[in-house]
């Protein structure tokens, strides 16, 4: 019953969106009714999604999708999140978000009426395409052909709080670019010279980018503690394709700073807006079609893949076609100087585009090779580490000073202070790395990261008088964001370059020394939880002053899906994580793997600062 309501709401919502698209020459819709249709469509699609969640919560196994992905003994939160833990449900969430973005745009936009209508029409167009995709290939409201008492259960590895909110965050990011896309196309098609779209694109692109950052970080954090591999980034295709729109979005956010009435920059912004959304759809296509031999591969269904590829070509083709046909209306030259802000931003954009291209090539290279030569290859971490990182290095160097460059002249205020500080910093770090284990990447990462932080701090101190007002926080916002990046770079460098791995075979009561700490294997407990059985090994971590912490890595056994998941035990300190996973057991000897991950916490702190900065930037407007 509830599935029927959900499906009807989905169809009705699509029909409402179609009505909106009727050209003026056939049916003149007043703006009042136009907005009514747009908003009702949003309400209906939300109702549709809520009814899917309700079907999950009530464990309605007459719904085929619920049957496949849920189980009545699952905790309530994972019943709810199970709704988007599968292909069909997640696409419904995706479509729902397209509509919600349109809804909020219709509420908050301050543009002229005609422009608003244009944007909402394009947004509805995207909505219709994706809702057709659901109705024809991925319907989550299909009826189960056999009567069953129990479902198959959600993959245990997905039953995790971080992963429960990871897809909605990520999708809010991906889908947010659909609105940015609509704004860009509307700006090309518009007939008046209304320039409010730039301000709006600024706002919505930062919102999308902020959500995307949060989504990627959550996924990465999940991979860190759930996969038990000791790392947090594996250059898996699924990760790469989320990184591409992220970098393109970053380029977009930065380009939007440059707009000072220059036609070339406006064209570039439109191009980036189209690119961001295209990369989002391309990502969906690559993941959902199963065309990539990824460890994370989703449904390998040819018809779905083909449909998404079609959507990709239609939207991207339409976007770039409009982009090419519509000629610029005014001509203003760029104010380029050797080292002014505009040229710094341009170099930054070029670097980011090259980075996107490199990731794209690395990700689709296996497909190209397979088509051409029929051999299958995989491109792993080493390729990306040795191409993307060197490309980004000059960009990192640039970003430490870019915010203080002037728009009009070549001069930097108080240039000498920067040079002196940089020299002092490089000497300190050279000595530091000479005294400790020298590693070129470690050296570079530390130098760049700390220089970005220090450079930004100098600029803040020199340029703004400290006060605890919101105005102050807003004016130093770009520096804040860059400090976040600096902290993250240090964290990334240290956790990957100086990671240490130890393997032990231990039985209860054994003690091992790791660096300066003593790790003792205390006991094993097996406890029945709500829908799984947990095995926990308890360790105590001691130093000279006594016990620092208890760490309890273990395994969970899920009887419904007959699966075991590894649960890493992590001791978080400010400067290092002690990360323990338990392997198998033989004659009471347990295989224990211990990673010492230095400065991992810096990565998450850096991400927090970046997200904070994007929130401040949105409130600013």
């Amino acid at each position: 019953m509830i599935s029927l309501i959900g499906f009807s709401a989905l169809c009705l919502s699509t029909i409402f969106s179609c009505i909106v698209l009727i050209p003026k020459s056939i049916l003149q819709i007043k703006i009042k009714y136009f907005l009514f249709f747009i908003r009702s469509s949003s309400f209906l699609i939300c109702a549709s999604f809520i009814s899917l969640i309700l079907a999950y919560v009530t464990s309605d196994f007459s719904n085929f999708n619920v049957f496949q992905n849920s189980h009545s003994e699952k905790p309530l939160i994972y019943k709810i999140t199970g709704a988007w833990g599968n292909h069909e449900g997640s696409i419904l969430l995706w479509v729902c978000m397209i509509s919600i973005y349109g809804f909020f745009y219709s509420l908050f936009s301050k543009s002229s009426e005609s422009f608003k209508v244009l944007v909402l029409k394009i947004q509805s167009g995207i909505f219709i395409i994706f809702s057709f995709f659901i109705i024809f290939t991925s319907n989550p409201f299909l009826v189960n052909s056999v009567v069953v008492e129990e479902g198959l259960g959600l993959n245990p590895i997905l039953q995790d709080p971080a992963l429960a909110i990871h897809p909605p965050m990520l999708y809010l990011g991906y889908v947010g670019f659909s609105l940015v896309f609509s704004l860009a196309i509307a700006s090309l098609l518009k007939t008046n010279s209304d320039e409010t779209w730039i301000v709006e694109t600024q706002k919505w692109s930062i919102i999308s980018w902020g959500f995307l950052t949060a989504g990627i970080a959550l996924g990465s954090y999940w991979a860190y503690y759930e996969l038990g591999w000791g790392g947090w980034w594996f250059w898996d295709p699924v990760e790469n394709i989320s990184l591409m729109p992220w970098i393109a979005g970053l380029a977009l956010v930065h380009s939007l700073l440059m707009v000072r009435g220059e036609e070339a920059i406006e064209r570039w912004i439109v191009f980036l807006s189209i690119l961001c959304f295209s990369l989002s759809i391309l990502g969906t296509f690559l993941v959902r079609s199963g065309i990539l031999t990824s460890v994370h591969s989703f449904a390998a269904d040819a018809s779905r893949g083909l449909f998404i590829l079609l959507i990709f070509f239609v939207t991207t083709g339409f976007g770039f076609l409009v982009f090419l046909i519509k000629s610029p209306t005014k001509k203003n030259n760029l104010h380029l100087l050797l080292i002014n802000k505009t040229s710094a931003l341009i170099i930054n954009n070029i670097l980011m585009m090259i980075a996107v291209l490199t990731i794209l090539i690395g990700t689709i290279y296996p497909i190209i090779i397979e088509v051409l030569t029929n051999t299958r290859i995989s491109v792993g971490g080493p390729y990306f580490n040795s191409t993307v990182l060197p490309i980004l290095l000059p960009g990192f160097l640039l970003m430490s000073v870019a915010p203080v460059l002037s728009w009009q002249t070549n001069k930097i205020k108080k240039f000498k202070i920067y040079v002196i500080c940089f020299l002092i910093l490089s000497i300190t770090i050279t000595i530091q790395s000479y005294l400790s284990a020298f590693n070129p990447w470690g050296f570079l990462g530390l130098l760049l990261g700390s220089w970005i932080i220090i450079g930004s701090l100098i600029s803040i101190i020199l340029r703004y008088k400290f006060s605890l007002t919101s105005k102050y926080i807003k004016s130093i916002n770009s520096f804040t964001a860059h400090i976040g990046v600096g902290i993250m770079i240090i964290g990334v460098t240290y956790s990957s370059v100086y990671q240490k791995e130890y393997n032990f075979n231990m039985k209860i009561g054994d003690e091992v020394t790791i660096e300066n700490e003593l790790l003792k294997f205390d006991e094993i407990k097996i406890v029945d939880q709500e829908n799984y059985q947990s095995l926990r090994t308890f360790f105590s971590l001691k130093n000279d002053n006594g016990i620092i912490s208890y760490i309890d890595p273990g395994k969970n056994y899920y009887p419904v899906s007959k699966m075991i998941t590894t649960e890493a035990g992590i001791y978080h300190a400010w400067f290092k994580d002690i990360y323990i996973t338990v392997g198998s057991e033989n004659n009471n000897q347990w295989f224990i793997k211990v990673y010492i991950n230095p400065l991992v916490s810096f990565i998450w702190i850096g991400v927090f600062i970046m997200i904070f900065a994007s929130i401040v930037a949105v409130i600013k407007k």
């Binding site: 993959n155 341009i346 491109v379 040795s386 198998s584």
Partner: protein, 146 residues
């Protein structure tokens, strides 16, 4: 410096970066790729012994042996040919017999694989086989629904 000269430098800088990036990509696509085979393809081709490769397939039923703690031997199959895999280390959570996996490692003289990494797919519901087939394989069909 004239404005024109400054712009020229900027453009040259861009071109230099682009060229460097292309060189990096070309160099790394030669160096850092790993070939991917099914067991049958591997046996047909002659593969160099010291080359890292990946093999995809299913863990053969009742081939899995734990020789000692964290030291395993099993067979990977594509239903027509099998390969023996030696692996020392932790197996992924989703590793089971008849589960699709990817093994990375080196091939030895006897066409056995000394694996350095074993990957299992994230989600068993998303295997290529149809749902019913999958259910029957896991022996869940009869128990729960009939």
């Amino acid at each position: 410096m004239s404005l024109r000269f400054q712009r020229l430098i900027l453009i040259l800088l861009t071109l230099a970066m682009l060229a460097a990036a292309i060189l990096l990509i070309l160099f790394n696509t030669k160096q850092n790729i790993v070939f991917f085979y099914t067991p049958s393809e591997l046996l047909e081709n002659n593969i160099a012994l010291d080359k890292k490769l990946r093999i995809g397939g299913y863990v053969k039923k009742s081939s899995f042996v734990e020789k000692s703690l964290n030291n395993y031997e099993f067979k990977i199959t594509d239903n027509s040919n099998d390969l023996v895999i030696f692996y020392e280390g932790m197996l992924p959570d989703l590793f089971r017999e008849e589960q699709g996996i990817v093994v990375e490692g080196l091939i030895d003289k006897n066409n056995n694989i000394v694996a350095s990494k074993v990957y299992a797919k994230h989600d068993e519901n998303y295997m290529p086989a149809s749902i019913k087939k999958e259910l029957e394989k896991n022996n869940q069909w009869n128990k729960n629904y009939k």
